[in-house]
Amino acid sequence: MMGGLVILWTDALVFLLLSVSIAFGIYAAGKEHLRGPWRLVVRSRMGVSTLVILSFYVTVGLLDSIHFEPAYSTDQPADGQVQSTEVVSLFDRLVQPLRDRQEKTYSAPLATHLYAKENMEQPDGTVIRDYPRLQYGGAHLADPERDWAADITRLSLIGLVKGLVVSFVSANILFALLGGRRRGGYAEAAREVLRGKSEIPWRTVLVTLTLLLMVLFWAIELSSRYHLLGTDKVGEDVFYQALKSIRTGLLIGTLTTLVMLPAAILLGIMAGYFRGWIDDLIQYTYTTLNSIPGVLLIAAAILMLQIYMSNHADEFNSLVERADLRLLFLCIILGVTSWTGLCRLLRGEAMKLREVDYVQAAVAFGVGHFQIILRHILPNVLHIVMITVVLDFSGLVLAEAVLSYVNIGVDPTMNSWGNMINSARLEMAREPVVWWSLLAAMIFMFTLVLSANLFSDVVRDAFDPRLRSSR
């Protein structure tokens, strides 16, 4: 089953990011000025319903970040000659059938036949030209023409009912948990939630969760027998591709900020706190970087990387590693082009903070610069950092698609929404049109970006002191 664990560069960073966020969560829980705004976030209905959707994406992304080399059966030659360089993730394992069931070429969503006519030899020796049956999609149907609609309806109903059942069960667990902590118990808690009277809008959570689960189980049920979103040119399942792209999108959105944060925070605070030549130098650095149009800087850097990679091809063990390194590099270079905004904001804020009375008092007491920055400045700019990170996320996801389309984004072999759209461009010119790849990429991307946008609005409203006072 599971072979050796493979930790790609981005995987390591993902788990670093995860532990940093958990650590920050624990830290923030003890600080009222950070905890308060988050309380506002989870009390807003928009905040919690987008959180449910985002956590679905994050779960898929995390599952897809645990990679290992599958060990094969023992009848392989034991001399170690046959070495698989294939790397699969835990997520691949979970959706194994989607990965394995490859058709010959294009097929429409939920189709039972290929999208193009082929010459087929009949049992009696004659050759006719018709749409051949798919190898996997709807293969269980005896007569697709007659059974197809009924089968789809049946599977849909089963899926929707399963989703409802699961959400019903989880709602009851929630009521029990909520009820356990107070006197009224289960019934009281259930009544409060269902009437929408609870402090955290649990009812909204449950509604979103129910919808999500119903869609999820519907998709699982249908994709077990059909290709839910069709297949692409080489017959790979488009639904699987769209799901795999989630990791790429999330990584671009989060790792980029992780990469740029230390530099932006350190330099921004230093510029604002120390002033003088340090300020001049840092300002000069970011103005220079800023004055190059971002796309061009990225293009130039990625071109250089491509040359480096093809000249040192032997340094990379597998295609996956190669693609992974390129993704990491893309995050770094995107970070280089996007840290300047945050740096400028932090510089301004640090300038204001250093004139504040308690900082002045600390200076008068002879506290060291390092201590002052760590104790007084940094904690007071954290909300700006958080707002920027959340606001930047959706822009970066969108940027990935555009960059991949221009061929300076992620590796063409990597699953990403940009690459899906890129290949869909040629398919749109085809007659008849192959529209499902494009649509799948768009739906998945749109859902993520929209929920991220709505969520970031809630976070900004909660954290921005200016907005809070005017409310």
Partner: protein
């Protein structure tokens, strides 16, 4: 005033030098000209002679920074840094790797880019400001809330989808305008309608939201309250007072993008087959023509700095307080 402008121009010089050094390092130090030659000639089985010829034809056979083989000033001028990087300051972009004069190409291709970018900017501004003023007029009603929701939804759609969707709907299904292409003179108009339309529509979401916050911030000011107290109607308050005072941030936002309009949009131009600077850059990236990419990076930063300069100047013209400092 003049002293101020001169100071700003002088301030731009070190930045341009910084950009220049950065591109030099990126293009010549990270990967040597040998690597580029090998890349261009095909990776495997390239003879050293072929690499030398390739480099000599394009002037990449000189040392990077210091030429010990030359005499006097030649030791510094007869180098790649001087010939390829410093020449950019005279807007001498040299020839591309496929032997075309980059400066000439740029002068030819900036017009189609402008033909799209300028209408998009002007129509977009008009649409966004009108819409945002309308929302500000109906603030805190259902119209306001739903408009903001629509804006967020529009912001969340990838620009690629606007282009592909628009092309499919307008050109392929309705046959209103050609899918892509370009023509000289007025015949180009029919090719320009769709990209301009898509550019405007794609920008409505973020644009309107931005102007809405601007106007709402302005509406809470004291002078607006005074104007209302005088008994002016809400329409007059919005259009005469709020719009006028919000002009400063709007103007600065516009001025900064004015020079960058030359650069065109990479995506739009390559999708619609418009021979502007955007598609020029994309083609160069795909062909790995470093001379062009280098030239565009430098041109882009020059234009950006000009934009910043214009912003500062326009500030001093519009806002008298700035001149005092």
């Amino acid at each position: 005033m003049i002293a101020y402008i001169i100071r700003r121009i002088l301030y731009a010089i070190p930045i341009l030098i910084g950009v220049n050094i950065l591109t030099f390092v990126l293009f010549f130090v990270v990967n040597s000209p040998d690597d580029m030659a090998r890349m261009n000639l095909g990776m495997k089985r390239v003879t050293p002679e072929a690499i030398e010829t390739w480099k000599a034809e394009r002037g990449y056979d000189k040392p990077l920074l210091f030429n010990s083989a030359s005499q006097g000033v030649g030791q510094l001028t007869d180098t790649i840094f001087f010939q390829k990087s410093l020449k950019l300051f005279q807007f001498d972009f040299g020839t591309s790797d496929s032997d075309r004069d980059i400066g000439y190409d740029i002068s030819q291709r900036m017009w189609p880019s402008l033909a799209i970018a300028v209408p998009v900017l002007i129509i977009g501004l008009l649409v966004n400001i009108t819409y945002a003023l309308l929302i500000a007029f109906f603030r805190a009603t259902y119209i306001d809330i739903w408009s903001v929701v629509i804006c967020v939804v529009m912001m969340s759609i990838s620009s690629l989808f606007y282009i592909i969707g628009g092309q499919y709907l307008v050109s392929k299904l309705l046959h209103l305008v050609p899918i892509s292409g370009y023509d000289t003179g007025f015949a180009a108009v029919k090719f320009l309608i769709l990209p301009v339309l898509i550019g405007v529509v794609g920008g409505i979401g973020s644009g309107t939201r931005w102007y809405r916050t601007l106007f709402l911030e302005e509406i809470n000011r004291d002078y607006v309250r005074t104007a209302r107290a005088k008994g002016l109607s809400e329409g007059i308050v919005l259009f005469r007072h709020v719009l006028k005072n919000a002009m400063i941030p709007i103007l600065t936002g516009v001025v900064v993008v004015l020079p960058l309009l030359f650069m065109g949009s990479l995506i739009t131009e390559s999708f619609f087959g418009i021979p502007g600077l955007g598609s020029y850059t994309i083609d160069a990236i795909n062909r790995q023509d470093f001379a062009i990419v280098r030239a565009m990076v430098f041109l882009g930063s020059v234009l950006y700095i000009i934009g910043l300069l214009l912003t500062d100047i326009s500030y001093t013209l519009v806002d008298p307080r700035v001149r005092l400092s």
